[in-house]
């Protein structure tokens, strides 16, 4: 197991380098120097900021030297300072990261516990009213823009019924609460964002789960289990489920970039001070250092998520650990 994990981590190194190269290309997309765009056309960017950009990217040197000097700084997580308040970009991102990661982890847990039973039930009762209703539901969820659902849920449950708060992650008098009270308060604020963040993936993954379960329950070993006279529960939840879950682990891993992308929108709608909203703010104020830092860190988070999914997969399927 340890060997497998080490091997996977070593394989990540070229990917990491690739991520920095692409991020570096992005900042050089502007015709001419990024500083021209940033400064001459945009009065918001001061002389000082322009000099800082020139210094960080070494814009007077050849491009590969620029990259090497940039990557040296990035390796120590030095992305330069924010143009807006002069604080290190990485600090701003790291401050905002926990809440984004928390919402995404909660969404994944919700997806896991709702999508999987939904998919199993649809597969087992294929063609039933339940299957058909859930198929229609899934199709609609798949097509509905997440931010629109967020707005609708917000105006219905938040504004009209007043059941849940519609903005932020904590109440104004948060400091006066006990520890339990604080947790409940944040939980209360997170109900809608987590729900909305998971709806899209939930639909997709329940669909995959249904398909995966259907593939498994037609296999010979399941027929054998039936022939042996095992009960339906044992067959479905012990024999079939284990194999049907394997592809789902990979798919949940692959859905991480999508979930993170979603954070950009939901954090803006619900006014949550996370990485996604910081990214939007940084784009509006042309705060290039923060934008670049956010881009690199979001890709790192995806890599980390994929790594966890791979390790979970190898834990579930010994063929991966020992094979190859």
């Amino acid at each position: 197991m340890l060997r497998y994990i080490t091997k996977r981590i070593l394989q990540l190194i070229p990917v990491l380098i690739g991520i920095t190269i692409i991020s570096f290309i992005v900042i050089h997309l502007a015709p001419g120097k990024p500083t021209d765009m940033a400064s001459q056309l945009n009065p918001k960017v001061s002389q000082e900021a322009r000099e800082q950009l020139e210094k960080i990217y070494g814009l007077d040197k050849p491009i590969y030297i620029q990259y090497i000097s940039w990557i040296k700084k990035v390796a120590t997580f030095d992305f330069g300072r924010s143009f807006v308040d002069g604080r290190p970009a990485i600090k701003k991102i790291l401050e905002r990261m926990p809440i984004t990661v928390l919402i995404n982890v909660l969404s994944i847990i919700l997806i896991f516990f709702v999508a999987i039973p939904l998919g199993i039930k649809s597969a087992v009762r294929r063609g039933s009213v339940f299957d058909k209703t859930s198929t229609v539901f899934v199709f609609i969820m798949f097509a509905a823009p997440g931010f629109w659902l967020a707005l609708l849920l917000m105006s219905f449950f938040g504004v009209k019924l007043g059941w849940v708060p519609v903005s932020g992650i904590a109440s104004l008098d948060f400091e006066n609460f006990s520890i339990l009270g604080k947790i409940l308060n944040v939980g209360h604020h997170l109900i809608l964002p987590v729900l909305v963040a998971s709806l899209g993936s939930l639909a997709g993954i329940s669909r995959y789960m249904r398909q995966s379960m259907l593939n498994v329950i037609h296999q010979d070993y399941i027929r054998t289990a039936w022939a042996k006279g095992l009960g339906e529960k044992d067959i479905l939840y012990k024999h079939a489920l284990k194999n049907a879950l394997l592809p789902i682990i990979t798919i949940i891993g692959l859905s991480i970039p999508g979930l993170l992308s979603g954070s950009v929108i939901f954090e803006t709608v619900f006014n949550i001070p996370g990485m996604g909203r910081l990214m939007v703010e940084a784009v509006f104020s042309r705060d290039y250092n923060v934008v670049m830092c956010g881009l690199v860190i979001s890709a790192l988070l995806t890599l980390l998520g994929n790594l966890i999914a791979d390790v979970a997969y190898s834990y579930a399927d010994p063929r991966i650990r020992y094979g190859r």
Binding site: I140, A143, V280, R286
Partner: protein, 268 residues
């Protein structure tokens, strides 16, 4: 053909007609401001009501359908062309070229798409043209993988060998034999891709970083509607339904195309 596929195709056809004949369909000028008529409820003279500036929402949505469809089709067209090129080259030549291209694909897939797109928007600025290019350049990876897999299995077939024996060059084999034979799954992903691109455009415009006012887009109508949704539900309900129905239609059509191209597939 399945009924749902026809339903999807029908909606797309209607939408395309609305987009093409927008000036005849829309009862008002989409930009015409009339503060006296601000936030009118849906009624006979304003089918979907009016927004804060008194603009007719139905007319704005009709014009927005032009933007949604053209961004969808052009962005996915760019992505598909790129994907076809990279995927067929990787699959056909194999070896080092293949591993470089596929590594590049893997790396591109590591970026959460919105973070990547926002970063590019930060540099080049938001506009309809830029959004098309940005969505296109960040969504070709699926197509490249699909076509590579197809080419890998096709290139060892006898008709390819025969063609090569007759003196055909690499370019000829790729363009005349491999791409046409492997295009099926790409076609399916083209249709699904349009649905995805329309959602992406709506999301970007909703953030204020996509299609810029005064151009109406379903996403930016929603953005402007968010501020007044407590007073006028119609401002946020109708554009959202338009996006939902359009995306649903493309998804249904995509499912239909997939089934049509795969006769062995029994609908499970």
């Amino acid at each position: 053909m399945n009924r749902l596929t026809l339903f999807g195709a029908g909606i797309i056809l209607i939408l395309a007609l609305v987009a093409i004949f927008a000036p005849f369909v829309a009862p008002y000028d989409p930009g015409a401001i009339d503060v006296e008529d601000a936030l009118l409820r849906p009624q006979a003279s304003h089918l979907f009501g009016t927004d804060l500036l008194g603009r007719d929402i139905f007319s704005r949505m009709v014009y927005a359908s032009r933007i949604a469809l053209s961004i969808g089709i052009i962005a996915v067209g760019i992505a598909t062309l790129l994907g076809i090129m990279l995927g067929s080259i990787a699959g056909y030549f194999g070896g080092k070229i293949d591993s470089v291209i596929m590594r590049f694909t893997d790396i591109m897939l590591c970026f959460p798409s919105f973070f990547l797109m926002l970063s590019v928007v930060a540099i080049v600025g938001p506009s309809i043209f830029n959004i098309m290019i940005i969505i296109g350049l960040t969504s070709w990876m699926g197509v490249a993988r699909l076509l590579r897999a197809e080419v890998l299995s096709l290139k060892t077939r006898e008709f390819v060998l025969a063609s090569r024996a007759l003196g055909a060059g690499d370019f000829y084999i790729i363009v005349r034999h491999l791409i046409p034979n492997g295009i099926g799954p790409v076609l399916v992903s083209f249709v699904f891709g349009i649905a995805g691109a329309i959602l992406t455009e709506a999301g970007l415009s909703f953030l204020g970083l996509g299609v810029q006012p005064p151009h109406p887009s379903w996403g930016n109508i929603l953005m402007e509607g968010k501020a007044v949704m407590g007073v006028g539900w119609w401002v946020i309900v109708f554009p959202g339904i338009a996006i939902l129905v359009t995306v649903l239609a493309f998804n249904l059509l995509g499912e239909g195309v997939r089934d049509a191209l795969n006769p062995r597939l029994r609908r499970r």
